[in-house]
């Protein structure tokens, strides 16, 4: 195995594009090294992107936030501005693994690992976040939900690297939240999860909503019917029940070692309902 530590995106992209054999990017390494240990993969090349300038920074821009691909989730949790604007995204990022894992793991890595159960992804999808993807020839910006195409699979071409994750600026009366279900209180992979992002009008009526579910389908699901269930409501009990039912109905889960189909369907609705309530309060609703 070769280890490379490029100092620019161009160099990194070129290394990845030209690599013969199996090449992997290394940011936090909290998925990559586990897979190497288990013998699932034997990389020929590992490209460490942490020395690339700017990649370890959270930038506040005119349009919102740009989170570099090498920013650790712990650093996201320490960024007061980001936390205030996108509490749901930050709490989702901070749920990945232990404190030890938090010091290293990144949301870009969480996204590219392409697990349906990735904690940060439903929150990012609900938030309408975008990924800036740099390739050998051009840069493109795509919606988060377009990045993963199935378990372990992404739409990234050879040589393409996520450079940053973009989050919009937050207007007033908006709020997001993320909840996941795990059997323990920490250290587990989500059995089912839900991210909700709401915008209210001056009267507390839901104007816009995005609801995303994790671990209930091959990729994170954006649920338009859930949006329809609550837009126009003040998130009363009936709206919440409609939301839960829409989420349960949208699930296409499997039975596996972490949970059953029935459990995931039912709890997806429960979590969406609970997350919506938190997001609503954060948006100033009562």
């Amino acid at each position: 195995m070769h280890y490379a530590r490029p100092s620019s995106m161009k160099e990194a992209s070129s290394l990845m594009a030209k690599a013969r054999g199996k090449a992997f990017l290394l940011a936090g390494g909290t998925d990559l090294l586990v897979r190497m240990k288990g013998g699932d993969i034997e990389p020929d090349l590992v490209v460490d992107i942490k020395s690339i300038k700017g990649l370890s920074e959270i930038k506040k821009t005119a349009r919102g936030f740009s989170i570099g691909a090498a920013v650790s989730c712990a650093a996201m949790g320490e960024h007061a501005g980001l936390k205030k604007a996108w509490p749901g995204v930050v709490e989702a990022a901070n749920l990945i693994g232990s404190k030890q894992v938090q010091s290293r793991c990144t949301i870009a890595g969480n996204l590219c690992n392409a697990s349906p159960a990735a904690d940060s992804v439903p929150a990012l999808v609900a938030a309408g976040a975008k990924a800036v993807i740099a390739g050998p020839k051009r840069k493109r910006t795509v919606a988060i939900e377009k990045v993963t195409t199935g378990p372990g699979m992404t739409s990234l071409a050879k040589g393409e690297i996520i450079e940053a994750i973009l989050l919009d600026k937050r207007p007033a009366r908006t709020g997001d939240a993320y909840l996941r279900f795990i059997p323990r209180t920490e250290m587990d992979i989500a059995v089912v999860s839900a991210g909700v992002n709401l915008t209210l009008d001056g009267k507390g009526v839901v104007k816009a909503a995005r609801v995303a579910l994790g671990a209930v389908a091959p990729t994170v699901l954006l649920v338009p019917k859930a949006t329809r269930a609550i837009v126009g409501s003040k998130l009363d009990d009936a709206a919440l029940e409609r939301l839960a039912a829409a989420c349960s109905a949208a699930c296409r889960p499997i039975d596996d070692k972490r949970g059953t189909i029935e459990f995931r369907q039912k709890v997806a609705g429960v979590l969406a309902r609970r997350a919506a309530r938190i997001a609503y309060q954060r948006a100033g609703g009562k």
């Binding site: 195995m1 070769h2 280890y3 530590r5 290394l26 936090g28 390494g29 909290t30 090294l33 586990v34 190497m36 240990k37 288990g38 990389p43 590992v46 460490d48 942490k50 650790s72 712990a74 693994g97 232990s98 404190k99 030890q100 894992v101 010091s103 290293r104 209180t185 920490e186 250290m187």
Partner: protein, 158 residues
């Protein structure tokens, strides 16, 4: 395949080593540098027995490549005491019998040190969640939490 030459700082001392690209920091510490205080309980970041502090952040040495240590500042259990003087956490772990078999102890001490550095006045719940990345199978955690609470008290007074 040629190894990678790495210069790093461990417990305040500059250290040089050469390791294959795929070797983890844990294997470097234990097998190349003789620092066996960090333990391998799982090799997959699930038990925390290999916890070390890298540039003021707590990490699992099993989830970091040795090559990544270049230019970093690493603290391990071997550097926790100052000469003969134990760190208050070490003293409190002994006084509270916060260890039975002791295999998880170095990892817990590093995690607790990191926790108190970032939050000198943690609640019981903050301690429990802060140490959730470290598995202990002997104690049921009760005495570990009490030792950390007591150490926090002592360190604030010092």
């Amino acid at each position: 395949m040629p190894g990678i030459a790495v210069t790093t700082t461990i417990n305040g001392d500059e250290v040089e080593f050469i390791c294959p690209a795929e070797e983890t920091l844990l294997d470097v510490l234990r097998d190349r540098l003789g620092l066996t205080g960090a333990k391998e309980g799982c090799g997959t970041g699930d038990c925390g027995a290999c916890s070390v502090i890298v540039d003021d952040r707590l990490v699992c040495a099993c989830l970091m490549l040795g090559a990544e240590a270049q230019g970093r500042r690493i603290e391990t259990i071997e550097g926790m005491a100052h000469g003969e003087k134990l760190h208050p956490l070490q003293t409190k772990f002994l006084e509270h019998a916060a260890l039975q078999c002791g295999i998880c102890t170095p990892g817990f001490l590093m995690a607790a040190k990191d926790l108190l550095a970032k939050n000198p006045n943690p609640t019981e719940e903050e301690i429990r969640f802060g140490l959730a990345g470290n598995l202990c199978r002997c104690t049921g955690y009760d005495k570990i939490v009490r030792a950390v609470q007591d150490a926090a008290r002592v360190m604030k007074g010092a």
